[in-house]
Amino acid sequence: MNIPEIFNTKKSYFNNIMETNNQSQSYGLVLKEKDVMEILNERESVLQDQGRVELEIGITVKIIEFLCSSPYVDKIHYTEEIIELQEIYYYLKTETNDKIPDNKLLKIIFNLYNNPCNGSLELLKGREADRIINAVRCNESLPETKGGSNQGEF
């Protein structure tokens, strides 16, 4: 049995992603079918690149729910930013050797995205990602997880 193939299948997750439109449309953001397929394809590919398998689609859904209410995202870059945040998340999960639980890692990423990165994914995946990785490797405290908003609180 090929484990990544069994777990990381995109077939069953299509509807879960489409359902996030119920929440995001109030912010004027809607994912089309081709966007959803692109997000799922990229998820599969990043999981493969990071050598991971995932039991469910929860992380991607949480990323979408966070991002759709962010003041830093617009219609044009919505799908692209979801894909990039997904990529950053799995990269950090692997590079920190699974030491940070899902919810805590999401919370750190969301808070850093808002402040100090002000929506800049370049800053998030560069300077801030390095800080997180170094903090875990050196057993130091992680970047502040208290955010100004309730977004990302799980």
Binding site: M1, I3, R52, V53, L55, Y90, D98
Partner: protein
């Protein structure tokens, strides 16, 4: 009963001979059983998928438990060992019954979760049983100063009992045992491997315990003297040493408990074995083994079979040592120092560093291979200098071949002795099957290629010289 599965009982009974246990992969019992059952139409595609789905659900649950629900994703290797752990317990349950048909009946009657849980219970019982076996072995251990033997009992095995994880990593043996057994199936994993190892170690120890421990110690020391190694540090099997010499003593009509083969006895043995056919040697060995079993009153059939299983291995080594004129290697007689036509190489007469450097420079500056070889022939007088030249980056590719062609068989033998020190200790050392793994230097790779191209007779000639060389 699993609702997704049809009633198999009649078809299994009618097709009882379709799947034979010996045709299944014992290391991956469940997967090979499912494959064979599918091929023989005992399970249809839907049922196979349903079983896979059940295993997938088990894996999902185990991943959740493993991450304590804190991570929805894991590394592929984590998922793989968790899956192996599940299949390990399922394998143990399904192979615990006498036939593949019975295994398929279990699959029919129970779902994979039940089979898995029952498998875990069996693994737990095996673990307890194996721990008891270990305690017995520890108590009856041989009092022998052999590091690999002692560290296996005192460190490696306790490590297993402390670190083995039945729930999450049952297929991982989690320890490395250095003491070698004669027969050791290393493809078996987890607690089953340790159980097999301990059962075999118990048989070997029981046999060794028939002999005086001081004689075993002396034999081990003799091994160290002959091979010029610290006997306490060699990874050697004691059962083999003891049984070999007991067989030789028995052939010599000596006391079977006598493990020492003196030089005079060695000569008798040598004359006897070199004058008769392989068939007759085999018959002598079999008779000797029968006598050993009888005189030691060995009743344990497992031990009797174990010794029987060893004989073909022993015969191969014995015939090889006779053919290569190095019977003393297998009898552990220090004939080498007494009467072997030995050739000793010393490290004297090496040139000083400045002269050596200037020669290397001259060789490097030569454009023609013939000239390089000429310099080596005229200037290099000691084996140490010759070895340094080989490693001095002044010869390339085919130049090594040309050099090896130009040196004598004795020099080729010395090079083999340097590269294959460990392998030469084994009696079956064969130049035609040399492998280039673990080779450190370029010249050694070319040496192997060169030697493999020589004809069999030439290789035999070199082997004979190798056996005569001492450093």
């Amino acid at each position: 009963m699993n609702s997704n599965k049809i009633d198999l009982s009649s078809s299994i009974i009618n097709n009882g001979s379709k799947i034979k246990k010996e045709n299944l992969n014992k290391y991956h019992y469940t997967l090979s059983l499912l494959q064979k059952a599918r091929r023989n139409n005992l399970l249809d595609e839907g049922m196979i998928k349903s079983i896979q789905q059940e295993i997938f659900i088990l894996l999902k649950e185990l991943i959740q438990k493993y991450t304590k629900g804190k991570s929805s994703s894991v590394k592929v290797e984590t998922a793989e060992f968790l899956q192996s752990s599940i299949l390990y317990s399922i394998d143990i349950k399904l192979s615990s019954v006498s036939s593949p048909e019975d295994s398929l009946n279990i699959i029919q009657e129970k779902n994979m979760k039940e089979i898995y849980e029952q498998g875990i219970n069996i693994v737990e019982s095996l673990f307890d049983e194996t721990k008891k076996l270990y305690d017995q072995i520890k108590e009856n251990r041989l009092k022998i100063p052999l590091e690999v033997y002692n560290s296996s009992i005192d460190q490696a095995l306790p490590d297993f009992f402390s670190n083995y994880n039945i729930k999450y990593n049952a297929s991982n043996t989690v320890t490395m045992i250095d003491y070698p057994l004669i027969f050791d199936d290393m493809k078996v994993q987890g607690v089953l491997y340790i159980k097999n190892y301990l059962e075999t170690l118990k048989l070997e120890t029981t046999f060794c315990n028939y002999f005086n421990i001081k004689d075993i110690r002396d034999l081990l020391k003799k091994y160290g003297q002959i091979y010029k190694v610290d006997y306490r540090e060699i990874p050697i099997n004691l059962f083999e040493l003891v049984l070999n010499n007991s067989i030789f003593s028995t052939i010599l009509d000596d006391n079977i408990l006598n493990l020492e083969i003196s030089i005079s006895k060695y000569r008798i043995l040598h004359d006897l074995l070199t004058e008769i056919s392989a068939e007759k040697i085999k018959s002598l060995v079999n008779r000797a083994v029968g006598k050993i079993n009888k005189e030691l009153s060995i009743q344990d059939h497992k031990l009797i079979n174990y010794i029987k299983q060893y004989i073909p291995l022993f015969m191969g080594r014995l015939l090889n040592s006779i053919e290569n004129d190095c019977l003393y290697n297998i009898t552990l007689t220090d004939i080498q120092t007494e009467e072997k036509d030995k050739i000793v190489f010393s490290s004297r007469n090496s040139m000083n560093d400045n002269i050596f450097r200037s020669i290397v420079e001259k060789i490097s500056n030569c454009a023609k291979t013939d000239n390089k070889i000429k310099i080596i022939n005229t200037k290099i007088k000691s084996m140490d200098d010759f070895l340094d030249i080989l490693s001095a980056d002044c010869l390339y590719n085919d130049e090594f071949f040309a050099l090896f062609q130009n040196i004598s068989d004795m020099e080729l033998a010395v090079l083999a002795k340097i590269i294959f020190t460990e392998e030469i200790r084994v009696d079956e050392f064969d130049l035609s099957s040399l492998e280039s793994k673990n080779i450190e230097e370029e010249w050694q790779l070319y040496y192997i290629k060169f030697i493999k191209k020589l004809n069999k007779n030439h290789q035999k000639q070199i082997i004979k010289l190798i056996n005569k060389i001492e450093f």
